[in-house]
């Protein structure tokens, strides 16, 4: 592990039990691997974006890093410490350094608590109530660019963007080094989205934070992420430098995803790579390359041979016939 590596994930696997007794009796699969052999490295001070089909395992991966979902196999090395298998108590100090912003921002701010209480909560949870909480609240409000008197407001008195700022402030309350943000700008208009992303970028520069961001908005990925990974059925099918991937995607699924990106121009003639409708189930993973059932480039061997990860330039991908090489 190089000294610049903040997080190194190796062959991570996470599974869920599904179905229950009837499925077991019928001999059907009772386990799905929502994260299925994921490896990547996140460097200090950098932003890594995770994109992919809904249900591809992005949230599960993020929750697992945070110890909210047990690891089935593989390792998570964060600041030199192995996280897999740690107890909830042992994870607590780790969460101070790797805070998570959850997917549903509206629901994650309790409506009965004032902003002051919401911002004090992380200190209370981590047994730090002896700190000067008023001073901490003031410090956090300033960090995320909200006026001091917002401490006395309640969530329903905040605009969407202000609520998101409070969410960011909660996440960075203690001593963050890596912020894991699940769709931090979903539901925001483009102007407020810009504000929140500018704020995250500022914090990254000022506090030396690293970020792992999950988003469906490819325009956002291109603006903020140094590196990105594309997930399909719980695996990274391609990862690499963001700009390089946008310029020349190598995996056919990445190419389809980038070609689908809606553009704000009603007259645009889209040259879309359309994919067949059926997204395979995790209960019945396709043979060979798991994308072969939908891949426009698939050839005979794709249904049989599992592609091994290959490096093309700075990217790593799993495909027998990479594009743009």
């Amino acid at each position: 592990m190089s000294s610049d590596d903040l997080l190194r994930v190796s062959d991570l696997r996470v599974s869920f039990r599904v179905g229950g007794l009837s499925a077991r009796l019928a001999g059907r699969a009772t386990e799905i691997e929502a994260v299925s052999g994921v490896s990547f490295t996140l460097q200090r001070g950098s932003t890594f974006a995770l994109v992919g089909e809904s249900g591809s395992g992005k949230t599960t991966l993020a929750r697992t890093l945070n110890g909210l979902q047990p690891v089935k196999a593989g390792t998570i090395l964060f600041e030199g410490q192995e996280l897999q298998g740690l107890s909830n108590t042992a994870m607590k100090p780790v969460r101070r350094r790797m805070p998570m912003m959850f997917q549903d921002p509206v629901g994650s701010l309790s409506p009965r608590l004032s902003v002051r209480s919401l911002l004090s909560e992380p200190f209370v949870i981590h047994g730090l109530s002896d700190r000067d909480l008023n001073a901490e609240v003031t410090r956090l409000l300033a960090l995320v660019g909200l006026p001091r008197d917002f401490a006395d407001r309640y969530p329903h008195q905040l605009s969407g963007g202000q609520a998101r700022r409070v969410g960011v402030a909660r996440a960075i309350a203690l001593d963050p080094v890596l912020v894991v943000a699940d769709e931090p700008t979903a539901g925001l208009d483009v102007s407020v989205q810009g504000e929140v992303l500018n704020l995250l970028n500022d914090l990254r520069d000022r506090m030396g934070l690293s970020m792992l961001i999950i988003t469906h908005n490819l325009h956002v990925v291109r603006q903020i992420a140094d590196r990105m990974a594309v997930m399909y059925l719980g695996r990274f099918v391609e990862q690499g430098e963001t700009e390089a991937i946008f310029r020349a995607p190598h995996h056919p699924y990445t190419a389809a995803l980038l070609s689908a990106n809606p553009e704000p121009d009603p007259d645009r003639v889209h040259q879309r790579i359309t994919l067949p409708a059926d997204v395979p189930s995790l209960l019945a993973r396709p043979s060979g390359c798991e994308f072969h059932t939908r891949c426009p480039q698939a050839q005979g061997r794709c249904a049989v041979d599992v592609p091994v990860p290959v490096a093309v330039g700075d990217s790593r991908l799993t495909c027998h016939f990479p594009l743009n090489t």
Binding site: G160, V190, S191, V192, H219, L257, P262
Partner: protein
Amino acid sequence: MTVLEVKNLSVAFHTESGPLEALKQVSFSVPANRSVGVVGESGCGKSTLINAILGLLADNGEITSGEIIFEGDKDLARLDPTAMRGLRGLRIATVFQDPMGALNPVLSVGRQMRDIQYRSNLSKRDKDARSVAMLRKVRIPDPESRLTQFPHEFSGGMKQRIAIAMALMMEPALLIADEPTTALDATLEVATIELLKDLQRDIGCSVLFISHHLGVIAELCDEMIVMYAGEVVESGTTREIFHDARHPYTQKLLACDPARLSQRVARLPTIAGTLPDLRRRPSGCVFQPRCDRADAQCLTPPPSAVLGGSHIAHCWHADIPLGAMNA
């Protein structure tokens, strides 16, 4: 034929510090077989507009003036609650940001999809077959075996597609969608847009579509309205707005879209300032405190500048095109 016509609609919420005028003199219409998009900053009144149409305003909310004419003859602003309940879900279907609003966590998806068809005479088996067909249409893998599963067993995006399938089962005249694609990835987002377009053709319904994703509006909608602080500031065809926006707010909003940036930038564009306090609207133009183009004239209410066809901007200076501002 016009499916929905909103005329001079105003809505106020009664708060401890006085009435908050969330919608002010909103007018627009949704023609048959058309999709109309609604865009605007968080808090500008998009959800309030939808709630007013559906008769679902919060207890402290009130329609203070105007009409909401549905299918030519019913004024939804004055319809009694029983008649309104008869329309909701049957003639007017909805899909919201949060799919869990539409899904019952303790019932299987198959059971819920069968329950929506309670008015139909189909057998249980045929109802389930329709549910499966609908789930397949929204790209849920293994729909047969998924019927017995519960909402928590699906990912966020899948739940949203199930909610869409449930809304479409009823073949409504109007589908109201409040950010339904927010949780979907680009391929499924585009697929959902295609699905909504197909549905419009199949059963001849109209769509009122709210989204912050301007690209999605550009692809799906024929017409659009731009809202600011509870007012419609500009309306027209999607083409007119995206190519020739004339209201300064619309122009700024479009300029903030990261999709317009061809290069990575150090700071993303934003609109300086915040929405005005809707309990104390500025006199004159509502956008005046944030507008670079404001002058003395803007302290009086702006006219509706008709820019040709259906394109209207509510501004004193609607003669300056988009390119001129960016330059």
